[in-house]
C-alpha cells in the first residue's frame, strides 16, 4: 500500500474562483522516490505544502483528500493533524540560506525535532545529531553543532538541513527544489547525498523540481504537472524513453543539452500549450458539473 495518497485534490485562493490545483491525484509508495515536475506556477510546491500543512492562510483546499499511511488528514482535528504530519513527514527546503534560524546555534535546531517528535532527552538527541552530521559527511560535527548558520557555507547548511530532515526517521520527506539555490558543483554533491541518505533510510521522497536532469538521476516515478493538473504519471524510465502526453514530450524537448547548448533550446510549441490549456478548461467544466464551488 502506498504511504502517501492524494485523491483528486483541488485548491484555490480565497475569494478567487480560479483553481490552483485541479483534481491532483498522486501516490508515493513507501521507500519510493517520486518526482514532481512542471514549469513555474504549475502547483508543484503547493502540493508539497498541502501535504505538510504549511499552505498560506489565503489558500484553501476545496475538494479531495490527503491520506498518510491510509489515514485521511482532513478527518483529523488540527492538532492531531499537526502531530501526525510531524511524526511521519519532514521537509528539505529550497533555500538553505533562509531555512536555518540565524540567531540559534545549529545543535538545537536539529535536536529540537528529536525532542519534539520522539520525546528524547537532550543528551541522547545531541549524540544522534552528531551521528547524523557525520552521515552527511560534515567534517568535525562537534564544532558545527555549536556554530551559528552564518558561519557555514550554503552547501554545508543544505547538508545540515538534510541531516535534520532524516533525523526523526520520517516515512516521507518532501524535498522542495533542494538544489535550486546552490551552485552547480555543489548541486551534484547534494543530489548524491540525498539519494544516498534515501537509500540508507528507506524513506519515501517527494522530489519537487523543474530540472528533468535531476529527476532522471534520483526518481523512480514522476508526475508532470501543468496548471495544477497532472498530465502524466509514469515511471522515470518510461518517461525518458518517450513520454505519452504531448506537453511532456515538449517539456523533455525543451531541456537544454550540454552537448548542444544553443541548438537544443526549444520552447514548448504554441499548439501544445493550447491543447493542454483546453484540457484544463474541460477539467474545470467537469468539476463545475460535479458541484464544485464556482465551477
Amino acid at each position: 500500500m502506498s504511504f502517501l495518497e492524494i485523491r483528486n485534490l483541488s485548491a484555490k485562493v480565497k475569494g478567487n474562483p480560479v483553481r490552483l490545483l485541479r483534481g491532483v491525484s498522486l501516490e508515493v509508495e513507501a521507500g519510493e522516490v517520486r518526482g514532481l515536475v512542471g514549469e513555474s506556477g504549475a502547483g508543484k510546491s503547493m502540493i508539497g505544502k498541502a501535504i505538510l500543512g504549511t499552505l498560506p492562510a489565503s489558500v484553501e483546499l476545496t475538494a479531495g483528500q490527503i491520506l498518510l499511511g491510509g489515514e485521511d488528514l482532513g478527518a483529523l482535528s488540527p492538532k492531531a493533524r499537526r502531530s501526525r504530519i510531524g511524526a511521519t513527514c519532514a521537509l528539505i527546503p529550497q533555500d538553505p540560506l533562509t531555512a536555518l534560524n540565524p540567531s540559534r546555534r545549529i545543535g538545537p535546531q536539529i535536536t529540537d525535532r528529536l525532542v519534539d517528535i520522539l520525546g528524547w532527552g537532550r543528551a541522547k538527541a545531541e549524540a544522534r545529531a552528531l551521528e547524523l552530521l557525520a552521515e552527511v559527511h560534515i567534517p568535525d560535527p562537534a564544532r558545527v553543532l555549536r556554530a551559528y548558520p552564518h558561519e557555514l557555507s550554503g552547501g554545508m547548511r543544505q547538508r545540515i538541513l538534510i541531516a535534520s530532515a532524516f533525523a526523526a526517521e520520517p516515512k516521507l520527506i518532501v524535498a522542495d527544489e533542494p538544489t535550486t539555490a546552490l551552485d552547480v558543483t555543489v548541486q551534484k554533491q547534494i543530489l548524491k547525498l540525498i539519494a544516498e541518505m534515501q537509500a540508507r533510510h528507506g524513506t519515501a521522497l517527494l522530489f519537487v523540481t523543474h530540472d528533468l536532469g535531476v529527476v532522471s538521476k534520483v526518481c523512480d516515478r514522476l508526475s508532470v504537472l501543468y496548471g495544477g493538473m497532472v498530465v502524466e504519471d509514469t515511471t522515470t524510465r518510461a518517461f525518458f524513453a518517450g513520454p505519452s502526453h504531448a506537453y511532456s514530450r515538449a517539456l523533455l524537448a525543451a531541456t537544454p543539452k550540454y552537448t548542444d547548448p544553443e541548438g537544443s533550446l526549444t520552447p514548448v510549441p504554441e499548439e501544445v500549450l493550447v491543447a493542454v490549456q483546453g484540457e484544463l478548461v474541460m477539467a474545470d467544466r467537469a468539476y463545475g458539473r460535479a458541484g464544485g464551488t464556482h465551477g
Partner: protein, 288 residues
C-alpha cells in the same frame, strides 16, 4: 562565538569596538553613576536657595562664586547639583517607561505579526486609531486627567508610545513568519506559541533592543516636554525640562541656566540612540 571555532574564516575576524558604542556607553555610565551617587557627589543642596547668589556664572567666567562650578539660577540654586539630581528622574523615566512601553508594544506586535488573523486585525486597528491622536496633546490631556507626578508621566509615555514598538515588531514578525525555519518548526509539530518564542522572538530581539534604546531617549524628551509645560512633578524638584523652562526666561542674563541642562539632555538622548545602533551592529548575528 564558541571557543576556537574557525569555519570559513568569517567568524574568526575580530572587530574593533566601534567608537560610538564606546562614547555613548561611557556617557550613559557617567550619568547612571551621577544619578546613583547624587546625594554624595552633588556639591550643594539642589533645593537650597540663596537670593544673594542669584545668576552667578560658571567657574571660568569672571565674577564666578567659588563652589558653584556651573553657576546658579535666578534663585541662587546650584545648576550642577540640579542637573545631577535631575538625572535621577530622567533615568527612572527612561528605564521604567521605556521598559514598560517595550514590553507591552513588542508583545502586541509579536502576536499581531505572527498569529495574524483576527488578533492582527484587532491590534492593527487599535494602532491605527491610536496613531491618529497627536501625541503631545494626548500626553498633556492624560496628565491633566491623571494629575502631575512621576507615575502619571510613565503611564502617559507607555499609553502613547506602545504603537511605536507594536508597528515595527509586527512587520518584523511577519517577515520572520514567512521563513522556512518557521515552516520546519511547524511541520515538526511545534505549537504556535513555542514557535513564536524560539523561531521569531530571537530574530526580532535586535530590532526590539534598538527600539528600546530609542524609546528611552524619547521618554526623557517627553518628560522634559512635560516639565517644560509644568505638567511633570512638583516645580521645586530638579528636572532637566523644568530647568530648561526656567533658563529660557533668563537667557539674556544667564545663558548657563539654559545651556547646561539642554546639552546634558541632548547628549543623553543621542547616547541612547547611538548605543542601540552600536549594539545592533556588533551583536546581531544576522548582520555579522
Amino acid at each position: 562565538m564558541a571557543e576556537g571555532v574557525k569555519m570559513d574564516g568569517r567568524g574568526a575576524v575580530r572587530r574593533r569596538m566601534p567608537l560610538r558604542l564606546v562614547l555613548s556607553a561611557g556617557w550613559l555610565t557617567v550619568l547612571v553613576l551621577a544619578a546613583l551617587l547624587a546625594p554624595w557627589i552633588a556639591p550643594k543642596d539642589p533645593l537650597a536657595q540663596d537670593l544673594f547668589l542669584g545668576r552667578m556664572p560658571p567657574f571660568w567666567v569672571a565674577g564666578a562664586e567659588p563652589g558653584y562650578l556651573l553657576g546658579t539660577d535666578s534663585l541662587g540654586r546650584d545648576v550642577l547639583s540640579r542637573i545631577l539630581y535631575g538625572a535621577r528622574l530622567a533615568l527612572t523615566v527612561a528605564l521604567v517607561a521605556g521598559g514598560l512601553t517595550c514590553l507591552i508594544g513588542a508583545t502586541l506586535g509579536l502576536m499581531a505579526g505572527f498569529l495574524r488573523g483576527w488578533v492582527d486585525l484587532v491590534i492593527s486597528r487599535l494602532i491605527d486609531i491610536w496613531m491618529a491622536f497627536p501625541p503631545v496633546l494626548f500626553s498633556i490631556l492624560l496628565i491633566a486627567v491623571l494629575g502631575p507626578g512621576l507615575s502619571s508621566i510613565i503611564i502617559a509615555i507607555v499609553v502613547i508610545d506602545w504603537t511605536r514598538f507594536a508597528r515595527v515588531v509586527r512587520a518584523e514578525a511577519m517577515a520572520q513568519g514567512a521563513m522556512d525555519y518557521v515552516a520546519s518548526a511547524r511541520v515538526a509539530g511545534r505549537g504556535r506559541f513555542s514557535t513564536m518564542l524560539t523561531e521569531i522572538l530571537p530574530n526580532v530581539l535586535p530590532t526590539i533592543l534598538v527600539l528600546l534604546t530609542l524609546e528611552m531617549g524619547v521618554a526623557i524628551i517627553v518628560e522634559a516636554i512635560l516639565s517644560f509645560v509644568n505638567l511633570s512633578i512638583s516645580t521645586d524638584d530638579p528636572t532637566w525640562g523644568g530647568m530648561i523652562a526656567e533658563g529660557r526666561a533668563s537667557i539674556h542674563q544667564a545663558w548657563w541656566v539654559l545651556i547646561f541642562p539642554l546639552v546634558t539632555l541632548f547628549l543623553t538622548v543621542l547616547s541612547f540612540s547611538q548605543l542601540g545602533e552600536g549594539l545592533k551592529d556588533r551583536y546581531d548575528p544576522v548582520l555579522r
